[in-house]
Amino acid sequence: MDELLNTAPCGFLSFSDDGTILLVNERLAEVLETSRAELEGKHIETILSVGGRVFYHTHFFPLLKMQRNAEEVYFSLRSRSGADIPVLTNAARRERDGRPVNDCIFVRMRQRHRYEDELLRARKAADLASAAKAKFLSMMSHDLRTPLQSISGYADLLLADMNGSQNTEQLQSVAAIKSAGKEMLRLINDILGFAQLESGRVELRIASVPVGDAFARAETLMRVRFDENNIRYVRRDCADDLRILADPDRLQQILLNLLTNASKFTPPGGTVSVSCEKVGAMVQIHVADTGIGIAGDQLGRIFEPFTQVTGSSTLSSNQGVGLGLSISRELSSAMNGELSVVSEGGKGSTFTITLPADTAAAMKGSAIAELRS
């Protein structure tokens, strides 16, 4: 063996397909507390930890034989005294003296091994905590909804005032109970929705949705709110035949969330507008407002769960638990799209939902138009 390879600051080993060690350098023998003569001719399993032997047979060797190389593979060697030695391995398969051989180099990983152990422990703890949180949120939301539905139901009965026994003040109080219950139900639904998204349990029914129809559906629900807040609502450019591939109810949820936010953060006399445009294979839906905007330092955080934009004075009435935008972004992503924002403090915000265009429907439409012409 070349003296340079023999004394290189990494272990070197060559083995045959049946696992026999053909060649080993001085450095590796040293690490394994043995000699080259003792190692050569033995099976490679003899220098691997028990887990390492399984990994060698199930992953390492099959890959090496089929792919002819393997890089950055973590292995655990076993020294003569039985100590586990973590190493990083690169290996290549080549022909030498007319037969295939597998050459490997081993680099010890002392510090990195400890650091990775810590990272793994932290990740496992985080995974467990996240699963526990999702379970808790889901259970809590279910358990809170049941009594809330009773409160809402009885409030409805009282509001109906079948025998006319309540005075106006009492009816107003019951209406307040009903309204607070409704708001609470919305919050709980947000939490439940978020928990479902986090655990990947959301079912989507993707369909071809005309963007105009989606706007019209949202407008019906939002118009009163805009009027009450003295906000001008405008539907700007949006081609009538533009369709997207989305779950209609989930799209509605996103639109209502963005429009509600816009109405919340736009002062009276301001404007909220919607528009849409086709960009390549996608459709962009813009929801813009002339409201208080979002400061640069907050912009990156607004899609994080449980985040509320702060410092927005009286307009931020702190409604919600800060899940709406997080849910909307997750839903957009689940529908193969995305949700983004452009904003400047004091100058309003524009949220953009990007979703796949239904090009098949568009092509069919144009074919029909051609036939008619």
Binding site: E45, V54, P62, L119
Partner: protein, 272 residues
């Protein structure tokens, strides 16, 4: 239940060969159907060869992974049966490597009418030692393996990093995935390892009624000789062949001998 085309897509089922007799090859833990590439050419002329990837391995549909279903080997056996049903297979010669031998046993016990013969390469009904039974491993050994897998998923080993490879922002990794054999989803691979190495299917062996062959490697640290003999003694009417091949993957390391023994077994059984 999924439709037939979805099942075939879920398990990336590939059919090759010019024969009509179905021969199904099931890969073991650690790789995918690519493991059979040295074996299948020898059977293409006479058989209809069915290859597939378990969910989480190779080019299977990762979205189909269900933690509960695949938490035990029974879930994987369900996949085998669903593939058989989707292709309307009967009289199948099932060749399973390692854990797939046991998955084959579970499937054949549940729907024996689908199978004609089981060829088991390196089977082990239980890997962990238990009283008088020697599986070859202590629980701590398997935990060492799981630790090694965790580290490799973290270390971006070139064949275990599909999460990175599927990143659309890094197309060079996607290309690497296409060229990579044995790609596997790290999280699923770990759970597959747990389902495999912590399983105890000793009692299922007694229920097998299909003729079977056990191909046992010499010096196999994963499925030692004593485990192969135990499997042979427990499965009524099974045949046992000790291979010259060493290690645990003779179909990769010693394909010629593996082919020859399978052919010999099938020839003998035809003659009988």
């Amino acid at each position: 239940m999924l439709g037939n085309s979805n099942i075939l897509k879920r398990n990336n089922v590939q059919i090759i060969g010019r024969g009509t007799k179905p021969m199904m090859f099931a890969h073991g833990f650690g790789c995918d159907q690519n493991m059979w590439r040295f074996i299948t050419p020898a059977f293409e002329a006479d058989y209809r060869i069915v290859l597939f990837d378990y969910v989480g391995s190779g080019k299977s549909d990762l979205r189909a992974y269900d933690e509960r279903r695949y938490g035990t080997l029974e879930g994987y056996a369900e996949d085998v049966l669903e593939i058989c049903a989707a292709l309307d297979l009967h009289g199948v010669i099932f060749v399973g490597h390692s854990v797939s031998s046991i998955i084959g046993v579970l499937a054949a016990v549940k729907e024996p009418e689908r199978f004609e013969r089981l060829i088991m390469i390196g089977p082990s009904p239980r890997y962990i030692n238990d009283g008088q039974y020697t599986g070859g491993f202590e629980r701590a050994d398997i935990e060492g393996l799981l630790d090694m897998m965790d580290k490799n998923f973290m270390g971006w080993a070139n064949y275990l990093a599909p999460v990175v490879m599927q990143n659309p922002d890094r197309p060079e990794y996607t290309k690497e995935l296409e060229e990579s054999f044995c790609s596997t989803d790290p999280r699923i691979a770990r759970r597959f390892a747990e389902a495999t190495f912590f399983a105890d299917n000793r009692s299922d062996l007694r229920d097998l009624r299909i003729p079977s062959l056990i191909l046992q490697c010499s010096d196999d640290v994963i499925a030692p000789l004593s485990v192969g003999q135990y499997t042979h003694q427990t499965i009524a009417g099974s045949e046992f062949m000790l291979m010259k091949a060493t290690g645990h993957c003779p179909h990769v390391s010693h394909p010629e001998e593996t082919i020859q023994l399978i052919q010999q077994y099938l020839q003998d059984s035809r003659a009988a």
